[in-house]
């Protein structure tokens, strides 16, 4: 491993100035083979990823219903989006859900990862158990949770009205059940990332710190957390982005209900776009959603990385 990393800068330095062993066609063109390797992928990606995005943006300026004739309507879809209570509610729900789920996922995962990083019995077994949810389909395990919330818990916790009446049909609190399912599953991946971050911290550090009399909390805030902050950044950004697009879990638990209380943006685009005859309108919604997600991700990177640098 060391030899390879050392060789790299040397090789790249040589490639720029005088690189006799690397035989390349002309002066600064790569071998045509390399172009053959890359072009097909670029074309395929353009056709199946970029074209749909452009088509979506195009239709967002029309009144296309998904079938039949259409006309250009300018920005009116976008104007209407901001006046539509159902759209605003979906964004409100998605953000509420995503923020709650991100905070819980990261707090719980970090705690469990630290537990798994301590000296415990059967560590590999537990690590394996915590990772199980990662290989399960969100929709399918979601149906199991649906039964748990709607049939088991009302009997087990019959003393608590919130659970006794089936939390999934509770307009105010149904979203917390979705958070529970999403966090339950998302922790699997997040724990593993934190654990690999924790394993890069030399144990001598903690020994030195405890000799200096640092209490556990102090060790966490002065050693552990600063040293894994890069992992914290990536986990928070990835989980928030994933949770904002929540879909499977909602379909499994509430299907957007009761009413439209737990309708996420993705679910709304899916419903309105495919069965609601709102192809163009939901395309505009999707464009806004894309902008929102990009801004949120970039903003997070900025804030979290600045904070990282402060340590």
């Amino acid at each position: 491993m060391t030899s390879s990393t050392q060789a790299l800068p040397a090789a790249r330095g040589a490639g720029g100035a005088d690189a006799p062993p690397v035989r390349r066609g002309t002066k600064d063109r790569a071998q045509s083979t390399f172009y053959w390797m890359v072009w097909p992928a670029v074309i395929a990606f353009f056709l199946f990823h970029t074209v749909p995005v452009l088509v979506g943006i195009f239709y967002s300026f029309t009144n296309y219903a998904g079938y039949g004739a259409w006309n250009f309507v300018g920005l009116s879809n976008y104007v209407n989006l901001f006046k539509d209570d159902r759209i605003l509610a979906a964004y409100g729900f998605s953000f509420l859900f995503a923020i709650a789920a991100t905070v819980l996922t990261n707090a719980i995962s970090l705690a469990i990862a630290m537990g798994l990083n301590a000296k415990i019995m059967a560590r590999n077994l537990f690590r394996g158990v915590y990772f199980v949810p990662y290989v399960l389909a969100a929709l399918v395990i979601g149906y199991v949770f649906q039964f748990l919330f709607s049939s088991s818990l009302p009997k087990i916790l019959s003393g608590i009205p919130l659970f006794a009446d089936n939390i999934l049909t509770n307009e105010t609190w149904a979203w917390t059940a979705i958070v529970a399912l999403a966090v339950w599953q998302a922790c699997a991946f997040t724990i593993i990332i934190y654990l690999s971050g924790l394993q890069t911290i030399p144990r001598e550090l903690y020994e030195a710190a405890s000799l200096d009399g640092a209490k556990p909390w102090r060790q966490f805030s002065s050693i552990t957390f600063p040293l894994i902050s890069a992992f914290f950044t990536i986990n928070v950004v990835l989980s928030l982005k994933g949770f904002l697009q929540v879909f499977d879990q909602i379909v499994a638990l509430t299907n957007g209900g009761p009413g439209t209380a737990t309708e996420s943006v993705t679910l709304l685009i899916f419903r309105g776009g495919f069965s609601g005859g709102e192809f163009a309108y939901q395309s505009a919604n999707a464009v806004i959603f894309f902008i929102v997600i990009t801004i949120v991700s970039l903003f997070q990177f900025k804030v979290l990385q600045r904070r990282e640098a402060d340590f």
Binding site: G15, V140, Y143, F189, F231, F274
Partner: protein, 302 residues
Amino acid sequence: MTTAGTALGQAEAVLPEPRRRRTKNVADDDSRKINWWVTALIAVCSLTILIPLYLAVVVALKTPDQLAAGTGFEWPNPVRWENFAEAWERTSFPQALMNTAMITVGAVVLTLLTSSVVAYGIARNIHRPFFKGVFFYLLAALFIPFPIIMLPLVKQTSLLGLDNQAGMIVLYTIYGLSLNIFIYTAYIRSIPIELEEAARVDGASTWRVFRQIIFPLLTPMNATVGILTCVWAWNDFIMPLVVLTDPGARTLPLAQYVFQGQFNTDYTVAFASYLMAMAPLLVVYIFSQRWVISGVTRGSIK
């Protein structure tokens, strides 16, 4: 702040050679005493993972009457295995399993063969504007949420006749490119170019260099990309939901969704069906647990 300051100063002194130390630590010279409090805590918390799985198993083994009589958690007596046979029939399980397996295997194979080639082309020419441009073009797509592609994609796939299993394989391969290129490129750049140059001097073509030198060296990353693609394609719900039109092409998650309405309150058969849908990947995971976890870890921290 002083304690932290000194500790951190030492951190920097220790850090330059973390690799050897880390492997040593992980091995067995962990001289710390076993922390029973933490063990107990971790064990109790792991029940939250196991309880829903236990619930899935016991409900699938009950009769509707047994289920109605209790909370769902009681161990069934007698066990009713017929639920599985019934679920097998009602959801056309063999067909859904075949579809999912075909799509997953196809997506994994095609992804491994294509992503690695593209990444190699990019990694070895990253200093050239064209290749750098392609790299960032693919990477930028990571920011684009699926909903914006979803609506036009459905029109496009049905127009091109790709609203079937083959289309799903193509889509997983293409949409996986962004992340896979990212994973592969970092790794390929750490492979010394001298290895290739020796072969080139002997007259090997670029393709041959890739096939015989680079691809074998990529094994750890192939494992990572393969695992990520496999879990994604097997469990994905939204893409089959919108793309697949023929009922005969249904994947396992899609079959659970479609039959959810028919199961209605028939939870015992439904749960047998869920178990059968989750089992194949779960069994594979149980037998290759360490390998899977290390593969996923490698991919995410590159």
